[in-house]
């Protein structure tokens, strides 16, 4: 069990790295075309403090944006799941908002909240990641089979009671499914701001400076750290899911 859960993914990552290294080596690509995994290590050693400082900035701002997305996305989802009118009114707005390329929002936000870099970054991470949560929660709530409601309603249970005892826990698997998508989206949001709007913070900034100084291995090194942080946060969500919605998981095999 542990073999399969831990060793198999690690083995797959090792295979991937070896393949990458071989690809670069066989083609004899220069590192400005594609850096190989063996080029990355020196970059990490050379800039280790930068990676920690910038990595932390990216991580906490992403998590903050994600938490905001969870709170407001869930609230919107509940509203749309409970009220048909709210659903009809809000869906086109939300879809429209979601369709706007977030890169275009970055300069607007920068003007709106001049100098408040952390706020800008968190808000963008939120904006890009709340949509899946809102939609999943609303669908989870609105597709609740009427019989579930009826067994408690027939006893005179209040709407709030039905929501708390049945609707909310029943929607948790959908919520966590959406949260897994939102985690990676939030990272994209944070880095959009960090790369497009240069204000000297986060891994996006490190990437940007690497680009300016033509340090190609460093650029790749940043990307790998971002990927690792995405994986880390994803598994945090998986762990939370197991605690709060473990019942939805069917027995393995």
């Amino acid at each position: 069990m542990i073999m399969r859960k831990v060793l198999v993914p690690i083995f797959a990552i090792v295979v991937f790295l070896v393949f990458w290294e071989l690809l670069v080596w066989v083609n004899q690509w220069p590192n400005y075309k594609m850096a190989s995994p063996s080029d990355l290590w020196p970059a990490y050693v050379k800039y280790d403090t930068l990676f920690f400082t910038y990595g932390w900035q990216t991580l906490w701002r992403t998590v903050a944006g994600l938490l905001l997305a969870v709170v407001l996305g869930t609230a919107l989802g509940v509203l749309m799941g409970v009220s048909r009118t709210a659903r009809d009114a809000l869906y086109p707005l939300l879809v429209g908002f979601n369709a706007i390329p977030k890169a275009t929002v970055v300069p607007i936000m920068a003007l709106m909240f001049v100098g408040q870099h952390d706020l800008n970054t968190i808000l963008l991470a939120f904006m890009i990641s709340f949509f899946p949560i809102a939609v999943s929660v609303s669908i989870g709530l609105s597709t609740l089979e009427p019989e579930y409601r009826d067994i408690l309603r027939a006893l005179g249970a209040s709407k709030l009671m039905i929501f708390r005892k049945i609707a909310l826990p029943k929607t948790l698997p959908e919520f966590f499914g959406a949260l897994k998508v939102s985690v990676t989206l939030a990272f994209i949001g944070t880095n959009l701001v960090e790369i497009i709007e240069p204000h000297g913070r986060g891994l996006g900034h490190l990437f940007d400076s690497a680009k300016i100084s033509s340090d190609y291995p460093l650029m790749f090194a940043v990307l790998i750290v971002l990927a690792l942080m995405g994986i880390l946060l994803y598994y945090v969500v998986v762990a939370l899911e197991r605690i709060f919605a473990g019942w939805a998981e069917r027995g393995a095999d």
Partner: protein, 297 residues
């Protein structure tokens, strides 16, 4: 709406009488049962659908005495489920009245237990906690100290002893339905409303559950309204079978199933009496569907 042709109805009634089952015609002028636990009086209901109004019930009369098990059969989509929602107080009729225990039903009330074709168990709760769910809403109906004990004894009565801590997903469809029946009974409801609870089960499991219903009734007497498509089920479980007409539904025909001196077994479904009753019901269903019934010998 549809008047029953007397030429068809007459031989059926006599056939039933000769086999020991008494059958009565019901219409809006039927005299009202005294001391009825559930009394449905001239209830009409119309749904507003996208394609215009759809009348499902037309001055429907139905009485169920305390402790009586009544089955309702009828053509598909004739408003049987609407009837259960009216009795449960989940729906208000456009006209007419539903009385329960001498009180006019105006909304949901704690004295009703429900079970559906879908067992609707909460997947995140153990079987025991699922069965105890109604007591979280209406705890006062059973003394607090007896809550868990009562749930456990009901579960063992339906053969689920040892499964109390399992999750619903670990149980078969029939077992889940058994748990759902326990949940319907946990708060000692005055009436349980069963909306095709055995409809989705395979034939053997269904027959097992019929026996379970009899066992439950022997230990835990209850009043029941059963909606079903299965005529054998209605005759095996109920004291009275009501045939509804096609939409808009009225009570078209009522069949009293004679109480047997011994506990009912599946063999009782193959006696001459039972075969007669089933034939009558089948003819009534055909009438309700607007077809001419096959000749009855």
């Amino acid at each position: 709406m549809r008047k029953i042709d007397n030429d068809h109805a007459a031989p059926i009634t006599s056939g039933a009488a000769s086999s020991g089952a008494s059958a009565t015609h019901t219409d809006s002028s039927t005299q009202r049962m005294e001391n009825a636990l559930i009394d449905i009086r001239a209830v009409s209901h119309t749904f507003q659908t996208d394609s215009g109004p759809l009348q499902v019930l037309d001055k429907l009369d139905l009485s169920i005495a305390e402790g009586q098990f009544t089955a309702v059969v009828g053509p598909s989509g004739c408003g049987k489920s609407t009837l259960t929602r009216l009795v449960a107080g989940l729906l208000k009729p456009d006209s007419g009245e539903v009385w329960l225990h001498g009180e006019l039903v105006k909304g949901p009330r704690a004295s009703v237990g429900m079970a559906f074709q879908n067992p609707v168990l909460l997947e995140w709760r153990s079987i025991l906690r699922n069965v105890m769910l109604p007591l979280e809403i209406v705890p006062e109906r059973v003394p607090a100290a007896e809550h868990e004990e009562r749930a456990r004894s009901l579960l063992s009565l339906v053969g689920l002893e040892g499964f109390e801590d399992k999750k619903p997903s670990e149980l078969s469809g029939g077992m889940r339905q058994r748990a759902s029946l326990c949940r319907a009974l946990i708060h000692k409801p005055d009436v349980i409303i069963l909306d095709e609870p055995f409809g989705a089960l395979d034939a053997f499991t269904r027959e097992d559950l019929w026996q379970t219903m009899h066992a439950l009734r022997a230990t835990e007497p209850f009043t029941a309204l059963l909606i079903t498509h299965d005529l054998r089920e209605s005759v095996f479980l109920a004291d009275e079978v009501v045939v509804l007409s096609d939409r808009p539904a009225r009570a078209q025909y009522t069949l009293s199933v004679p109480t047997s001196s011994h506990e009912r077994t599946l063999d009782d479904l193959y006696t001459t009496e039972a075969v007669e009753m089933l034939a009558i019901l089948r003819q009534q269903i055909q009438l309700a569907q607007g077809r001419t019934p096959a000749s009855h010998s």
